[in-house]
């Protein structure tokens, strides 16, 4: 860490709100009372769930807030107050002083500009006129800095590159004017696990080599711990805790930090149940005059709901906004391990499937491309799911796992191979000859990744459930009762039946999607990344729900995910999918602890250092 005394960036009492500008509309608080300090060459993480206001913080610093959103307070960069700067002087500062790296490498680059031009565009303005040749050489040099050694890449267009490569290019472009502060907003979230690890390592090495300040904005504590020296925990628009990363991992001083720590599932064991924090992230305005976490906190008292607690120094370098921190400190420390109870039954999953409900044999799917370039999405995949078993399918994007799910429910037709669903003997197979495909995908249901688009936005969720029931020949007179019963099973109050999807949170919508799948009474439910679009504290709720439903109703799951830690928590056996082929399979504990295939080892190695491991190092 650098030892200069003057901070590189300092935020004092920063408040960001929308609707306060000339255009009017409803006033909404996005951030309130945020203090932050970054020394030159320091790496700081801002961790928060969606709606915490973390991205707006980045935009406020760069003065790139959307219209109708305004910031107040003090933001000082190298002694210059930023909020009072003219747009023109901000323009000079962006890029050369403060640079931004965004989440989505697919939209961040101009599709009509070559890779080299993205970089030289920044160079040319900064250092006067230079010959084209010199610029090109410089671009190649800059690409080498971000790990792209092939000079031909400079002449390519963004669409010719993979997501990871694009993120590298975007990083090189952000660094073109040699900024001394880089703000990276979820730079690795849109990438595959293996690529994610590479990008994080790259960011870290460049930060160290250049000695620049780095603000890392992320929802993932593991990512923050792996890169940052200090972490700010943001919730509902205010900072709840700030601490050195290692200290936070060892001992959180705010109940919300604890929640973040423990709801991130561990990779090395299967828990009996994931520690759950009920409820959802509130809007800053709804908790304006109390501790933001009080409505969800198990330790909350009247004192917590009386006023917005300030961030106070607990020990050198550590600040917490919990008013009860001195009383509950010991309890918090114990909870970091006590809540993580291992499931004793988890290890003895049967290796062989006794009673298969889903049998896939040598399934292949080839997408015919132009000019004879065929894409083999699936190559002779064989997979079994036993009754009441939960089977995982892991792999990166492009490995064919989603294609398999789509073939199972009839959204795609496999090129060759067989899919067999064994019906329960006590169920009369009421399917007539003509409707074979229809029948197959009613016995297999799919829950999609994105709960925001998998429900019709114009229909109340109750109507969606009742419509599904009716379409599946359910008795018309009992529709309402059955819909309420299904909602009860997925943990939603019956009053929610009248709501439109837009009024529900992501986790609640995913519960509705699960209820809809249950309404069809399928033999197998396929979950395609069901929690990857959800916040960590909500993710745990949904994962626990899946475990409970399986236990109570004897359901069988095929659980598709790229997240090995999540898979570990909910499946018995796992298949590893790589480029359309199953490369490894077995009981989940065995595969994750003793991987055989090179690819599986790579997947496991690329998980960011988890909290407890970081604690061991410290």
């Amino acid at each position: 860490m650098a030892t200069h005394d003057a901070p590189l960036l300092e935020l004092e009492n920063v408040r960001v709100e929308s609707g306060a500008g000339r255009r009017g509309g409803q006033r909404r608080t996005i951030l309130t009372g945020v203090d932050l300090r970054l020394m030159p060459g320091e790496t700081v993480g801002i961790v928060g769930e969606s709606g915490s206001g973390k991205s707006m913080l980045a935009k406020a610093v760069a003065r790139l807030l959307p219209p109708n959103v305004t910031a107040s307070g003090r933001i000082t960069y190298r002694g210059t107050e930023l909020l009072s700067q003219s747009d023109r002087s901000m323009e000079r500062l962006r890029g050369s002083g403060i640079a931004l790296l965004y989440q989505d490498p697919f939209t961040m680059l101009n599709p009509l500009l070559r890779v080299g031009d993205h970089i030289t565009e920044g160079l040319a303005g900064a250092q006067g006129r230079r010959s084209r040749r010199a610029l090109r050489d410089e671009a190649v040099r800059r690409l080498a800095e971000v790990g792209i050694d092939n000079p031909d890449v400079a002449r390519k267009y963004p669409f010719q590159l993979s997501g990871g490569m694009r993120q590298r290019v975007a990083l090189a472009a952000a660094l073109a004017r040699d900024p001394d502060l880089l703000i990276a907003d979820e730079p690795s979230t849109a990438l595959d696990v293996t690529t994610q690890a590479q990008i994080l390592a790259l960011l870290q090495s460049i930060q160290a080599a250049r000695g620049m300040g780095l603000i890392m904005i992320t929802h993932d504590l593991r990512v923050a711990f792996s890169v940052c020296s200090r972490v700010y925990v943001l919730y509902a628009g205010s900072v709840l805790e700030s601490a050195p990363a290692a200290a936070l991992a060892r001992e959180p001083l705010h109940p919300y930090s604890l929640t973040l720590l423990v709801s991130d599932p561990p990779i090395d064991r299967t828990l009996a149940a994931l520690p759950v924090t009920e409820g959802n992230v509130p809007t800053p305005d709804s908790v304006a005059d109390m501790c933001g976490f009080a409505p969800r906190c198990t330790w909350a008292t009247a004192e917590c709901r009386a006023a917005l607690p300030p961030l106070v120094d607990i020990e050198p370098g550590r600040r917490s906004a919990c008013v009860r921190v001195s009383e509950i400190r010991g309890e918090l420390r114990r909870s970091t391990t006590a809540l993580l109870v291992e499931d004793p039954a988890a290890s003895d999953a049967a290796a062989a499937v006794a009673d298969p409900v889903l049998r896939i044999r040598e399934l292949s799917k080839t997408f015919t491309g132009r000019h004879g370039r065929d894409v083999h999405a699936l190559r002779k995949v064989s997979l079994d799911v036993g009754r009441n078993e939960s089977v995982g399918l892991v792999g990166e994007s492009g490995s064919g796992k989603s294609t398999l799910a789509r073939c199972l429910v009839g959204l795609e037709t496999a090129t060759s191979g067989t899919i067999e669903v064994v019906e329960r003997s006590d169920r009369s197979g009421g399917t007539s000859g003509g409707a074979r495909e229809q029948a197959l995908h009613k016995r297999v249901q799919l829950v999609f990744q994105d709960p925001y688009s998998s429900l019709d936005p114009t229909q109340t969720v109750g109507d969606a459930i009742r419509e599904t029931l009716r379409a599946n020949g359910y008795d018309r007179t009992a529709l309402a009762a059955r819909a309420a019963e299904l909602f009860d099973q997925v943990g939603l109050p019956a009053s929610y039946l009248r709501r439109l999807p837009a009024t529900l949170s992501g986790g609640e919508r995913q519960r509705v999607a699960i209820a809809r799948a249950l309404a069809v009474e399928p033999e197998v439910i396929v979950f395609d990344e069901p929690v990857s679009a959800l916040d960590v504290s909500v993710q745990a709720q949904v994962l626990n729900l899946l475990k409970t439903l399986r236990r109570e109703f004897g359901l069988s799951y095929l659980f598709i995910s790229h997240d090995l830690a999540v898979v570990r928590q909910v499946v018995d056996r796992v298949y590893v999918c790589y480029r359309g082929e199953i490369v490894e399979q077995g009981a989940v504990g065995e595969v994750l602890e003793k991987p055989n295939h090179e690819y599986t080892k790579q997947l496991i190695a690329s998980i960011p250092r988890a909290a407890d491991e970081a604690a061991e190092v410290a």
Binding site: A20, F448, A471, N472, V520
Partner: protein, 286 residues
Amino acid sequence: MIAPVTLPHRRLGSRFARIPILVALAWLFVLASLVAALFGHLITHISPSAQDPFSIATLPTGTHLLGTDGLGRDVFSRVVAGSTSALVGPLVVACSGFLLSGLVGIWAGYSGGLVDTITMRIVDFMFALPGLLITIVVVTLVQGGYWLAVGILCVLNVQGDIRLIRSATLAQRALPYVEAERITGIPRWRIMYRHIGRNILPILLADFAIDFAGALVALAGLAFLGLGAQPGTADWGLMLTENEQILFQNPWAALAPGLAIVVLATSVNLIGDFIYERRRAASVER
């Protein structure tokens, strides 16, 4: 620092409070036209076809609010009476566009494959036809008049609508909610017309307004060329031609129907835009 402008906290409880003044005026004018079309004979005390040989092409007076035309007929009564043909024809065209594009566009977009190919090739063919020319030729040859013109416009207008609705359907079809409904066994027609239809309703409504305004102008143009309403009927387009000759005796005789066409077409477009924006905003807010 960006000074946070402190505005007095406005309560915007009522929906009407947020309707811009221009849109309110547009609604007012459309309603006025509607009232004129339905109850016009109650408003005006002079029959639109009564000729007064003693006051020909006079300027506005107390009895003749907008003066009289070349045959001594009251211009105000004729503008009021003309609102019937100005509303009915375009309404028929817009409704047929709404229904046909809704039915065929969603069907083609959702089904894809051969259905889509055939539909779109027919649409392409219709696009290649010079629509206005065909209308002029056919109406001239058949001596058809107003309703034939309306009928031909219905047919020629629908291609653009179908194309628009089809592409909107394609965008919806790729969304997970449609796939989820397919998987859970919701009947095809329900997915198409209940779910996709409801979701693209803002586009259908905006399209309805555009069709209406387009048909209004097209019918007026045909009438101006003598190819729409029969001579003698009170029709805004026809009045433009008839009263062109007396432009210097009573300019209001031609200006009033001309203005009515422009204002009604603009109003309907504004309303269409407003409804589209508001509904879209409602669906984006999630």
